[in-house]
């Protein structure tokens, strides 16, 4: 396992029944894993809105991993079949937006596959580190910036300003 000094932000969406259990098994078995992953537990991979992935990638994640039950093993019988179609489809959008398609992967890990989970985490983390930190779109201007801009144009005065300039009439 590679230990990275510069930790990147990887968001992982795991289904409650298989992959979350698999990650737990890996922990119980003390299989060493890279620490870049932040796990979000969801009821089923079918619960994952492709926009979860897009939002994470647009708002600062360096990578997104999705993992669910193996096809035919879904706790809800068919959630992961729908998920597979959605996830495969949304992957097509990434290169057009200028996001490396390697920043998003999905896989299937069952609750007993602790070792497989370790392998997935380490492979994916390695892949994201090879790509490096994701290029970011500029931060949206916060309220402070907007206020400063308005003040600079003389459009707005606040109570503080009035005090500094010796008080209003």
């Amino acid at each position: 396992m590679a230990v990275f000094s510069n930790e990147l932000r990887i968001v992982a969406f795991l289904c409650n029944w298989c992959s979350y259990g698999g990650a737990d098994t890996a922990g119980v078995g003390r299989f060493a894993q890279s620490t870049d992953l932040r796990i979000v537990r969801v009821p089923c991979s079918g619960r994952i809105n492709p926009l979860f992935i897009m939002k994470a990638l647009t708002y600062g994640a360096d990578g997104v991993l999705v993992s669910g039950c193996h096809p035919r093993d879904c706790h809800y019988a068919e959630g992961n079949f729908y998920a597979r179609r959605r996830l495969e489809t949304i992957k097509h959008l990434l290169p057009t937006l200028g996001i490396d398609p390697g920043r998003f992967e999905y896989t299937w890990v069952s609750a007993s596959e602790g070792q497989q989970w370790q392998k997935v985490v380490n492979t994916f983390t390695g892949q994201i580190h090879a790509l490096g930190p994701a290029p970011r779109l500029p931060e949206s201007p916060g309220f402070e910036n907007l206020l400063a801009e308005c003040k600079a144009q003389g459009a707005v005065k606040t109570a503080d300003d009035t005090e500094q300039t010796g008080g209003g009439a």
Binding site: Y59, H92, T96, S140
Partner: protein
């Protein structure tokens, strides 16, 4: 008898059986038409279908569900109707669909640009007085003296019409005129050209384009398949998908929402892009997903009203999806 006369007759015949017929009528000037809602036979006089009939008439159908509606459709509009039917958002028995062979519509922005180029910017589109359309040319007179300008039709045709595979309505109850035969094949050449850029360049491209966005949501409102109307998640505060901040990220993320909600549904009618007041090529994102869906699931939206859209179903063994090895 001209196609338009035949269409008017067909509409008048249909009118007694329906609450209204949707088509195109006179617009603000000779370069524009507006959607026309015909309820009485005399309303039909203003009807005209032609190079300026840019609006997708399918847009109004979901809101009019429950009423009997006649709708005049171009090929692209008929695909939107087909997709709405496939998703059971409208009812077939409430509709009377009138098709005709469409020779393509004009992109008004291209006309404006061509006029500006020809006159060094001294003629603006609002100054166009008359416009005539032939198979080869668009002849406009503009300006105070009514000067004539001849533009090659191919140069000012909407992009989508250049690659149109379905100039005739794909579903119709009444088809007026003779069907156009076309060899055109949409190979997503626009996407291929876009993909000549590197990933960094593409992101920079969107950053630059989206800066102009005013979040007016005209793209959404013009989209015949954006059927959530007042329940759009972009407007919702709980859950809040999209903040009020005015950054490129929010603007782009809205386009991501729109594109992903149209995955496997978008028929490529291009209304989003036409409606955009600042000319952002937002159709590109939707076409990229359409291409993906076409490749993955052998599905083109809107062609078969009986089909189940690919993201509303699955196959246990997907033909085109390969499981990835983790080594």
């Amino acid at each position: 008898m001209s196609i338009n006369q035949q269409l008017r007759e067909a509409i008048v015949r249909v009118l007694p059986e329906v609450d209204m017929v949707i088509g195109w009528g006179p617009g603000e000037d000779s370069l524009h038409q507006s959607p026309l809602f015909m309820k009485k036979p005399e309303d039909v006089d203003g009807f005209e279908a032609g190079s300026l009939s840019v609006h997708n008439t399918a847009l109004y159908l979901p809101d009019l569900k429950g009423k009997k509606i006649g709708v005049v459709v171009k090929g692209c509009d008929s695909r939107s109707v087909g997709q709405l039917l496939a998703e059971k958002l409208i009812k077939r028995d409430e509709l009377t669909i009138i098709g005709f062979p469409c020779r393509g519509v004009i992109d008004q922005d291209k006309v404006a640009k061509a006029l500006a180029d020809l006159t060094n910017g001294s003629i603006e589109p609002g100054e166009v007085r008359t416009a005539d359309f032939t198979d080869e040319e668009v002849v406009v007179t503009a300006g105070f003296e009514g000067k004539e300008f001849r533009l090659a039709r191919a140069d000012v045709l909407a992009d989508k019409c250049g690659r149109c595979e379905y100039p005739n309505a794909v579903i119709s109850d009444i088809f007026v005129g003779e069907k156009i035969k076309t060899e055109a094949k949409d190979e997503y050449a626009d996407l291929a050209a876009f993909e000549a850029m590197s990933l960094e360049e593409r992101m920079a491209f969107w950053e630059k384009e989206m800066e102009r966005c005013t979040r007016c949501y005209a793209c959404r409102n013009a989209c015949p398949l954006c059927v959530c109307r007042n329940h759009c998640i972009a407007d919702s505060r709980d859950p809040q998908w999209l903040g009020q901040a005015n950054g490129v990220r929010e603007k782009l993320f809205f386009q991501i929402i729109h594109a992903s909600h149209l995955a496997g549904r978008c028929t490529g009618c291009g209304e989003c892009e036409r409606a955009c007041p600042v000319g952002i090529p937002v159709l590109l994102l939707k076409r990229c997903l359409s291409r993906g869906v076409e490749h993955l699931f052998f599905y083109k939206a809107g062609l078969d009203p009986e089909a189940t859209p690919p993201l509303m179903t699955f196959e246990v063994e997907e033909r085109r999806i390969k499981e990835r090895e983790w080594k």
